[in-house]
């Protein structure tokens, strides 16, 4: 069985390599597999286009946890990763962490918890807080450059060509000079209202997240009479076009070239032209889409969440709208974010019998490469990095590596820093956190569980990860039936 898994992995690796070479020829922008790679995931869902697509190779196996950050009372955001450094919010701090070693380059205190992925443009990092602050921090030193209040719950920031774009839940959209924080323009939409259930939605969805290209910004607008995707002129904030959806919440659109993919929680998926908002094609995934789409120009990938049928991850041809493949989430009750790396699609899920799983799927076939179980439910989006992936683990983020590594995390890693942060908040009576040793043990246990839980089928012919549900039904059924038969025999005295 182990040999079989190895052969399958080798087979998938070779497929991935061939696919990566083919893609390089057609796109001409992606690095070839095996070459030294640096990350360019500069913000929420990859950067200002929010396309959920990375330029690094995906991995097909997990060998270790490099580091983890955050905790129950110190929620960590998914990181922006630029040139080997991950930038993320952990509680009321922003950290710069070396993605290979987990060592913390700097840690900056901010006035309130950072709920959303910061973004990095040049040497400037932009973060938003729950207190309505927009902050700029020097990405090299961790020194704060400026901060302003925006008078509302700030959404995901995006930065492009020296301008930061931030929306608020009350309909305001600002363009800020990234160097000084001065407002270049500000518009307030009067068609924004906050539905009553907004508190139950992830803030990245309930708040606007502008995607930016050379000419325009494209922002999701929440409204109780149906959400929208609105395009605004990048220089002035003037509206160019809008496309409506039936559902109140529209996910942040994913932008690639002259097209963008947008989805609503009801299951509406539309690929639009950036010129005029023309609908190229649209599909209806009944009951729901659970996260923003990932869009690399060739493929739109989404996670479908259904009350009545199996939850699945879909890869859809971006030109025709035809399904290329679909992957059924075993046991998943809630599906989460999807991202694309070279050769790999990552997706995170809540599951029924297990609490959280991130799966890596072959980009071309949808075959599962590995499944990594986490201890805490989560549905945020995995972040591809060189030779690894950063995955959500409840309030934590966990950096997984496909390399074996030589050393355990040391005291100056992100794990340690998260504990330090907790020590500070403990003084103010808001947090308790397990000691460093416990965290290290948990990491070791998690590494061990990776070896035992990933990709274990019920039958020898394998296929998808179809084991745990059958095991559950068989074991519980046999136990209950056997117990009843035994009790009846005891009652009868046979």
């Amino acid at each position: 069985m182990v040999q079989g898994a190895t052969n399958r992995r080798a087979f998938l690796t070779s497929i991935g390599s061939v696919a990566a070479v083919g893609t390089l020829e057609s796109v001409g922008a992606r690095p070839a597999a095996g070459t030294a790679q640096t990350e360019n995931w500069t913000g929420y869902r990859g950067g200002p286009t929010h396309d959920g697509t990375a330029t690094v190779d995906g991995i097909d196996a997990v060998e270790r946890t490099r580091w983890a950050a955050g905790g129950e009372d110190q929620r960590a955001t998914m990181p922006a990763v630029v040139d080997g450094t991950a930038y993320l919010g952990v509680g009321a701090r922003v950290l710069a962490v070396d993605v290979q070693s987990g060592s913390v380059a700097w840690s900056a205190s901010v006035p309130a918890p950072v709920p959303l992925t910061p973004c990095v443009g040049g040497t400037t990092l932009i973060a938003t807080t729950n207190g309505g602050d927009v902050l700029a921090i020097d990405a090299e030193s961790g020194e704060r450059a400026w901060s302003i209040g925006v008078g509302g719950a700030a959404g995901v920031p995006a930065i492009r060509d020296g301008t930061a774009y931030v929306g608020t839940s009350n309909g305001r959209l600002l363009a800020l000079d990234a160097d000084s924080g001065s407002v270049r323009w500000s518009v307030r939409r009067d068609d924004v209202d906050v539905p009553e259930d907004s508190a139950t939605r992830p803030v990245a969805i309930a708040r606007p997240a502008p995607a930016v290209d050379d000419d325009a910004i494209y922002v999701n607008v929440t409204g109780s009479n149906g959400g929208k995707v609105v395009s605004l002129a990048r220089q002035t904030g003037e509206e160019r076009w809008r496309v409506g959806f039936e559902e109140d919440y529209v996910y942040p659109p994913a932008l690639d070239g002259d097209r963008l993919a947008a989805a609503s929680g009801y299951g509406e998926l539309k690929v639009l032209s950036t010129q005029g908002g023309l609908v190229r094609w649209e599909k209806d995934f009944e009951n729901g889409i659970s996260s923003p789409p990932a869009f690399d120009g060739e493929t739109v990938s989404i996670a479908h969440e259904s009350t009545y049928s199996e939850n699945r991850c879909y890869a859809i041809d971006a030109d025709s709208g035809e399904n290329r493949w679909e992957y059924r989430f075993e046991d998943a009750t809630v599906t989460g974010g999807v991202s694309i790396a070279n050769g790999t699609v990552y997706a995170s899920t809540y599951t029924g019998s297990r609490t959280g799983t991130t799966v890596a799927l072959d980009y071309d076939s949808g075959l599962e490469q590995f499944a990594y179980d986490t201890g805490v439910p989560t549905h945020r989006t995995p972040t591809p990095i060189a030779d690894g992936v950063v995955i959500p683990d409840g309030a934590q983020v966990r950096c997984l590596g496909s390399d074996t590594g030589d050393t355990e995390p040391t005291n100056d890693t992100a794990s340690r820093t998260a504990t330090d942060s907790n020590d500070e908040t403990t003084e103010t009576g808001t947090s308790t956190e397990s000691p460093d040793a416990d965290r290290t043990d948990r990491q070791r246990d998690q590494n061990a569980s990776t070896e035992t839980t990933s990709s274990r089928p019920f039958l020898d012919d394998g296929g998808s990860r179809a084991g745990s549900r059958t095991l559950t039904l068989a074991s519980i059924g046999v136990t209950i039936i056997g117990t009843l038969v035994g009790l009846v025999q005891l009652l009868r005295g046979d």
Binding site: F458, R469, S475, T479, G486, Q489
Partner: protein
């Protein structure tokens, strides 16, 4: 109080399920947590049933002054113990397949089913035997069993029309057997009494013959 150590058997059989099921329930191991919870509940039920059986006993029989007990026959636990041991070994193999290997889950599941069936059969046999007693008196053949309610079968010695002694080849080697007592009258439901898993079936037959002679 029942004979033997049914609570010890219950604890030995049930606690591993409680521990294994509890571990699966709280860990992120190879089996789903709902399976762990089910196994833990089953283990707790086995432990509780063992204690219940220990505290359960048939009510004493009021034999008259002119009625003498010739023999008290109790089922032997050899077969039940063998089933329990086989079940434990197979379940251990299932646990090894599940936790220590990466074989397809069908193998530990199938092994679990076999071991579980053997274990449950062994437990039922052990506890049933514990709660069963046969009496041969000068007037009656009495078989008593109590789990929740009392089940007492009686055949008058005068009504006995046949005594059948059966032994399989394996039972012959081990010295075990069953004795079937058939009645020609009385309550139809008590027309047969089986002394199952008896250690010395020849002695039981002799006692029955002695009772018939006394009655004549």
């Amino acid at each position: 109080m029942a004979r033997g150590s049914p609570h010890v058997v219950g604890a030995l059989a049930g606690l591993p399920f409680v521990l294994t099921g509890g571990y699966i329930s709280v860990s992120d191991g190879p089996a789903p947590r709902s399976v762990g919870l089910t196994l833990a509940l089953f283990g707790a039920l086995v432990v509780a049933t063992g204690w219940y059986v220990r505290r359960t006993s048939p009510t004493p029989i009021d034999f008259g002054t002119d009625e003498r007990v010739i023999a008290t026959v109790e089922p032997n636990q050899w077969i039940a113990t063998t089933k329990l041991a086989l079940g434990a070994i197979v379940l251990l193999a299932a646990a090894i397949l599940l936790f220590a290997t990466r074989t397809a889950l069908v193998y530990p599941t199938a092994t679990f089913v076999v071991g579980y069936a053997a274990l449950v059969a062994g437990l039922v046999d052990y506890w049933t035997n514990t709660l069963t007693t046969h009496y041969v008196t000068t007037q009656r053949i009495v078989s008593e069993y109590r789990f929740v309610s009392l089940n007492r079968q009686i055949i008058q010695v005068d009504d006995i029309i046949g005594v059948t002694h059966t032994q399989s080849a394996l039972e012959s080697l081990a010295g075990y057997g069953s004795v079937l007592v058939s009645s020609g009258g009385g309550n139809p439901s008590a027309s047969q009494i089986v002394f199952g898993n008896v250690a010395n079936p020849h002695e039981a037959v002799s006692a029955l013959q002695s009772a018939q002679q006394d009655a004549n």
